[in-house]
């Protein structure tokens, strides 16, 4: 794959695992709570039998999903996420099972944005989102200093406009 080009090497922060775990934990808790309430209501009003079956099935499924997305997925995401920015291109590479490589020319970048939610703030991290003509691309969880530098770097490089 990378015979003539340097593969991207920069990693995202290790703390991202914790951030993802917390967000996923909360999301899954909400899903389980909603399903739990529905199951209770189902029991209370004695809805049709098949509704109970579906609810039970969904609870089992979301339980497995919770285990996957809280304990396993964040580690894999962080471990395989790479990015790099140079004068001409932004490169990203991600995915453990199926690998995706992206190549975005600097001249096509339209905007750069830093985001910080409550969990990211706790670890002093930022997620960087790069808007191009059609899409937006996120680099999640970069330490504050690096994030600011990266934003300014991209903004500077992206100033050069090509004729489209």
């Amino acid at each position: 794959m990378y015979s003539k080009i340097q593969p991207p090497t920069k990693k995202i922060s290790k703390e991202s695992v914790k951030v993802w775990r917390m967000t996923e934990a909360i999301t899954n808790l909400i899903i389980l709570a909603v399903l739990g309430i529905l199951l209770f209501v189902d029991d209370y009003f004695t809805w049709k039998e098949w509704i109970g079956w579906i609810l039970n099935g969904l609870i089992v499924l979301s339980f497995f999903h919770a285990i996957w997305s809280i304990f396993i997925e964040p580690i894999l995401l962080q471990k395989y996420w790479r990015y790099d920015v140079n004068e001409e291109f932004i490169q990203t590479k991600r995915g453990a099972w199926s690998e995706t490589h992206e190549l975005i020319p600097m001249t096509k970048v339209q905007s750069v944005k830093l985001n910080q939610g409550p969990f990211l703030r706790k670890y002093n991290l930022y997620s960087l989102s790069i808007g191009t003509m059609g899409d937006s691309h996120d680099i999640p969880a970069i330490p504050e200093k690096e994030a600011y530098e990266l934003r300014d770097k991209i903004a500077h490089f992206a100033k050069i406009k090509e004729v489209d």
């Binding site: 001409e88 099972w97 995706t100 020319p105 059609g134 090509e162 004729v163």
Partner: protein
């Protein structure tokens, strides 16, 4: 002459808006003022008054909207002011315009007017700048401004009438590349199966007739008639003739007056007999070219060529950006090179490897697994459906494998894929805004990868080709990296 004034749309626009208003509210108007005219009920009176106030308000606002909407072109920039209380000022640099569309509906024709739309690449409603009711001369002038300002970046503020006429001259020196002959229309009407469109119309006709005349009782008479074989033959032959004639007429109305032409800077596509539409795009604004062939078209050796623009191309049904959809395949390739001299279409392309065939046979089909499980669980007696689905899936896969082709040709990339309908996508490296390479675990095992390009269009155009060799994906990556060598900077 002095500097041009800000202009309004043609006053017929008000009439047009009134017509739209009437059409939209016809139900309420009939309900309130005809069926319940002079009603004694209190709430009815209130409703009548309330709705009248609403209508009056609408009428006034239509007039005010027309009055306050003004536009002006100055130094290659379009300025639009609108709004009475809160004013909106829009500035559209004409060099950002991606394509121009003109539509002349029957309504326009009655008043000898037309509508013109400038499409910019912006997302959302802000993307297009429509002029709904303008005179044909004004439309010509606006288009002329658009093409002249592109060439001469600095233009004196006072433009004389002669000057405009001069500027429009190159536009007249057009080369016509294609107008359909009678033979083409015939071919088109059979390929598009337009004669089948008669069936639903006949069915509706039968139903409506049935409401008025008792066709049930007439059936006895009909049955007697149908006993004689020669009457049946005549009836069927007659029906076929009517269907074919109908098909040809409807095809002629849609595709009859086609004209593809170009001058040194723009491509023009004109079509339609009753409802005319015209599309024009600057050659360098063409983001990509797509040549599609349905299965019928493949058998007959026909193809459809589409020019991909970064701006919206209007109503999907109108296919404004399509070169004639029933070109012979050779003519289609030739036409692309004719109208876009910067494009080179290479006919022979690389096909996928044996490895790709293996992976496509091995890749599990989740759709098949799920349906089979469902059939096994709910109705095992229908087991043969699972088999039919499996055969179908594999047929489509083999067809797609056979149809898949790819090529990196200097500055160009060509992808072709599809099972029943194939599509060949050709674009220039400088027009590709992003690329992606994806490798699943299975593909890694076989040394394959999926390559994808993203182009500007509305919505963004993703083109994917599955299962090329990793070495090729690498070459693809390097090819794109080299784009910096020959792009132009502002």
């Amino acid at each position: 002459m002095m500097e041009e004034h800000a202009k309004r749309l043609h006053p017929i626009k008000i009439l047009f808006e009134f017509w739209k208003l009437l059409k939209g509210n016809v139900f309420f108007i009939i309900m309130l003022y005809i069926l319940n005219f002079g009603s004694e009920k209190m709430y009815m009176k209130l409703l009548q008054i309330g709705f009248l106030v609403y209508l009056v308000w609408k009428v006034i606002s239509v007039i005010l909207k027309w009055y306050t909407y003004k536009y002006q072109i100055k130094d290659g920039t379009l300025y639009i002011t609108s709004g009475l209380v809160s004013k909106t000022y829009r500035t559209v640099p004409l060099h950002k315009v991606q394509n121009v569309q003109q539509r002349t509906t029957l309504f326009h024709k009655i008043f000898r007017l037309t509508s013109l739309t400038f499409e910019t690449g912006m997302t959302g409603e802000q993307g297009s700048v429509p002029f709904e009711m303008i005179s044909r001369k004004e439309a010509e002038r606006l288009e002329g401004e658009y093409s002249s300002k592109q060439e001469l970046p600095v233009i004196e503020a006072d433009i004389s009438e002669e000057r405009i006429a001069e500027d429009m001259e190159p536009a007249i020196e057009k080369t016509i590349h294609f107008t359909p002959s009678k033979h083409d229309v015939l071919k088109a009407s059979f390929t598009s199966l337009s004669f089948l469109a008669l069936i639903p119309i006949l069915a509706t006709l039968y139903n409506t007739l049935d409401d008025f005349i008792d066709l049930e009782n007439a059936e006895g008479f009909l049955a007697k008639l149908l006993d004689t074989w020669w009457i049946i033959t005549i009836v069927i032959a007659g029906l076929i003739c009517v269907a074919v004639a109908f098909g040809i007429v409807s095809t002629f109305v849609k595709y009859g007056k086609y004209e593809i032409s170009s001058d040194h800077e723009r491509i023009y596509i004109k079509k339609g007999v009753l409802d005319e539409s015209a599309f024009s795009i600057r050659k360098e604004k063409v983001q990509a070219v797509e040549i599609t062939q349905s299965i019928i078209k493949r058998v007959l050796g026909l193809a459809e060529v589409k020019l991909i623009s970064a701006g919206s191309t209007g109503d999907e049904e109108l296919e404004t950006n399509t070169l004639y959809p029933f070109l012979s395949i050779e003519r289609a390739y030739g036409m692309v090179e004719e109208i876009l001299p910067a494009y080179k279409v290479e006919r022979s392309m690389r096909s996928l490897s044996k490895q790709a065939f293996k992976i496509r046979m091995l890749r599990p089909s989740f759709f098949w697994i799920l349906t089979t499980l469902a059939i096994y669980y709910f109705k095992p007696s229908l087991w043969y459906i699972s088999l039919i689905i499996l055969v179908l899936i594999y047929t489509l896969r083999i067809m797609d494998y056979k149809n898949s082709r790819y090529l990196l040709n200097d500055e160009f990339i060509q992808f072709k894929s599809g099972s029943l309908e194939t599509s060949l996508f050709i674009t220039k490296r400088s027009k590709v805004i992003q690329i992606e390479v994806e490798r699943s675990k299975l593909q890694k095992l076989f040394g394959l990868a999926t390559i994808e390009t993203i182009n500007r269009s509305k919505p963004v155009h993703h083109t994917k080709l599955q299962d090329v060799s990793v070495e090729y994906a690498d070459e693809f990556y390097t090819w794109y990296m080299d784009r910096t060598k020959n792009i132009q900077f502002e």
